[in-house]
């Protein structure tokens, strides 16, 4: 996969959402604050590859997905799509470029217009990109498309509310496929679905990719979905990449303490592993004033003074040169399995349910 040509290359991309100051704050000369949703992220997605983006709410994963699909304009940085910088495209050129990247959203109810019939919904991208097609032609193309997502063509005239959550997500998928894009951004595509339905959709995603060879950017907090769909995984924490590498490397040999913590925190449906659990203390800090140095320093069990001052850079760790992690102590912690972290918890400072000064965790989206 790594030998495939690069489709999207993201270089040091940033997205800040400025906060409005109140009049008193302006008069007192408070600095302009911004939510630093994405703060200097670089990675690439190759042709036909699927990259998983894992992170908790506030990690900036959704913002990153919106930046790559250009629903947001980046504050700084470049988005090279097949060599062309699309970071600041506008107007007609932006709309024409959109046929390359399509998005599947999380909310299966909200992402389909309740007053449109199936064929209108699915054909919307076609109509936007190829104006002038007749109704019969559009219906024919939608009818051809529906079986690829596992739906029957008879449903053309139904409304979205007549479908279950899984069926709606298939419609979203069909809409995204309709233009044969080069990249599909999947924003939490299965998190609103039940386990049994989730497996159907994930199978469908993998089958479609091997058939049509498009690239996926799978944004989710669901590690098991990423494990099945992704070739490579990037772990985001507070708007920065903590770790990136092939899916097997990252999930089986997590290096960054946050990745370890995240994997250890997953509830596993295995009754024999009930006690072997580790939790990291503290809440996710706010994105308005992220901690200096390493973003994870406030919660990390391995924190040293250097972490609180100097920001760690992504660097290659271990045998695999494509496995990168941003941790000063990566070499020291690389061999510590997530499960064994439990013992370390007691030796550290008393666990506090809230990190100092961070009780005001804003709802900055996720």
């Amino acid at each position: 996969m790594s030998s495939a040509p690069t489709l999207v290359q993201i270089e040091d991309i940033q997205k800040y959402f400025p906060l409005t100051r109140s009049l008193t704050e302006t008069l007192r000369g408070h600095a302009k604050l911004a939510i630093r949703a994405v703060d200097g992220v670089s990675f690439n997605v190759n042709h036909g590859e699927s990259v998983g983006l894992i992170g908790e709410s506030g990690s900036g994963k959704t913002t990153l997905g919106w930046l790559i699909s250009r629903l947001h304009e980046p504050t700084a940085g470049r988005i090279l799509f097949e060599g062309q910088d699309v970071a600041h495209l506008q107007g007609t050129r932006l709309r024409a470029w959109r046929r390359n990247v399509q998005v599947v959203f999380q909310d299966p109810v909200g992402s389909l217009d309740p007053r449109m019939r199936v064929w209108e919904i699915v054909s919307e991208p076609i109509r936007a990109q190829e104006p002038g097609l007749g109704r019969a032609e559009l219906r024919r193309r939608v009818a051809e498309l529906l079986p690829t997502v596992g739906l029957m063509p008879e449903i053309l005239d139904q409304y979205p509310h007549e479908f279950s959550g899984g069926g709606r997500q298939r419609l979203s998928l069909a809409r995204a496929l309709s233009l044969r894009p080069k990249l599909i951004v999947l924003d939490e595509p299965t998190s609103a679905l039940d386990v049994a339905v989730q497996a159907q959709i994930l199978n469908r995603l993998v089958a479609l990719q091997s058939e049509f060879r498009f690239a996926y950017l799978l944004i989710t907090h669901n590690v098991s979905a990423v494990k099945y769909v992704a070739d490579r995984v990037a772990v985001l924490y507070l708007g920065k990449l903590a770790e990136i590498g092939s899916v097997r490397e990252v999930l089986e040999h997590p290096t960054h303490p946050y990745t370890k913590a995240l994997l250890a925190a997953l509830p596993v449906p295995d009754v024999r592993r009930r006690r072997a659990r580790y939790r990291i203390s503290g809440e996710i800090p706010t994105l308005i004033r992220p901690p200096p140095g390493c973003r994870f320093a406030t919660r990390c069990p391995f924190v040293i003074d250097r972490c609180r001052v100097e920001e760690p850079l992504l660097r290659s760790i271990g045998k695999d040169p494509t496995h990168l992690a941003a941790c000063h102590r990566a070499e020291e912690v690389i061999d510590i399995a997530p499960e064994t972290l439990m013992a370390m918890e007691g030796s550290g400072a008393a666990p506090s349910p809230i990190a100092p000064g961070s009780h005001l965790v804003g709802t900055t989206g996720g």
Binding site: L71, V103, I155, F163
Partner: protein, 339 residues
């Protein structure tokens, strides 16, 4: 329905692709009737609105048509309206005079009915013009508000002007305007419209603001749909339902407000039968001849009630999601996964 087991036959597929199944319209009408039947109050409102509108139409149309057809004006009203001295005064309700007669000897039933087209027309006209002005301004103010653009400036201007109008009490402002412009049907209607449209701006803008952040609008944008098409295909389409519902409730409110203005004496001239006017002329006889006042009250009450009931019911009929509950169609199950 689509089931996991049923293979899609080519014929069925073609039938599905070619067009909407024939009889879809019939099925829709059937569905609406079923919804009406399931909500008896909506049905009552619906029937009342049809009856009231039909009566108003006939009252206006029959004399005009008969004049053309047979050269003689025939009215469906039993007696001419506001006919002073036609009958003995203050007769109680009887079969001859359903609502009795008033202080001038005119038949109250004919008076009340003759006022129906006027009041209904005013209701529709005022609410309709307000709807058009207000919703267009609200659409602009809600949809184009990206900070730093020219249209955002226009949006802010619209909102501030709306706020100024909203800060006046509706009735007082309308009275003041009619008093300034002079008594007359057009003037008084314009006065009500001037105070009425800001509500539609508020309503429309609020709806637009909530619709335009819906994931389906974002999805359309991500698909490359232009902003103007998003505005019409998604925003306006989802806006119609709350506007129609509000409009149908509003017709009744306008009728009440307008009657108030006429009652105070600045609406239509007293020579035109209108419920506010009638109320004014009957107000002294509430105790001595209660049928006069009560007839007008009943007319206003029934008309306003009809539109309220209909408005509530329309909400159910217009929303495809609520049709689901009524419709017997099962949820479309996705076809089984084929490996």
């Amino acid at each position: 329905m689509v089931t996991a087991a049923a293979p899609a036959t080519k014929a069925a597929a073609r039938a599905g692709v070619a067009a909407r199944p024939r009889g879809a319209l019939k099925a829709n009408v059937f569905l609406i009737l079923r919804i009406l039947a399931a909500n008896p109050l909506t049905l009552v409102g619906f029937i009342l609105v049809v009856l009231v509108s039909l009566t108003a139409f006939l009252i206006v149309a029959v004399p005009a048509v008969s004049l053309l057809a047979i050269g003689r004006s025939v009215s469906i009203l039993p007696y001419p309206a506001l006919d002073v001295g036609a009958f003995p005064i203050f007769q109680g309700p009887s079969l001859v005079h359903l609502f009795g007669t008033d202080q001038s000897g005119a038949d109250v039933f004919s008076n009340v009915m003759a006022a129906l087209p006027t009041d209904l027309g005013i209701g529709f006209a005022v609410a309709g013009v307000s709807l058009i002005i207000g919703s267009l301004l609200g659409l602009v103010a809600g949809f184009y508000d990206t900070p730093g653009t020219l249209s955002a400036g226009a949006s802010v201007a619209i909102l501030r002007v709306t706020d100024i109008f909203l800060s006046f009490p509706t009735l007082v402002l309308a009275l003041a305007i009619t008093a300034a412009w002079g008594r007359g049907e057009i003037q008084s209607e314009l006065a009500v419209i001037v105070t009425w449209w800001p509500f539609y701006v508020r309503l429309t803008r609020g709806e637009v603001l909530s619709i335009k952040v819906q994931p389906y609008v974002i999805a359309a944008r991500a698909a490359g749909v232009s902003e103007s098409r998003i505005l019409f295909r998604h925003v306006v389409r989802n806006l119609l339902e709350p506007l129609i519902v509000y409009f149908s409730l509003d017709v009744g409110t306008v009728i009440v407000t307008y009657s108030t203005i006429s009652y105070v004496g600045v609406g239509v001239p007293p020579s035109i039968p209108e419920w506010g006017n009638l109320m004014f002329s009957y107000q002294d006889y509430l105790l001595s001849a209660p049928w006069t006042v009560l007839s007008v009250t009943a007319a206003i009450f029934i008309t306003v009630l009809a539109f309220s009931l209909l408005g509530d019911g329309l909400r159910d009929i217009l929303d495809p999601r609520s049709r689901r509950i009524m419709s017997t169609t099962a949820a479309a199950t996705p076809a089984a996964e084929r490996p």
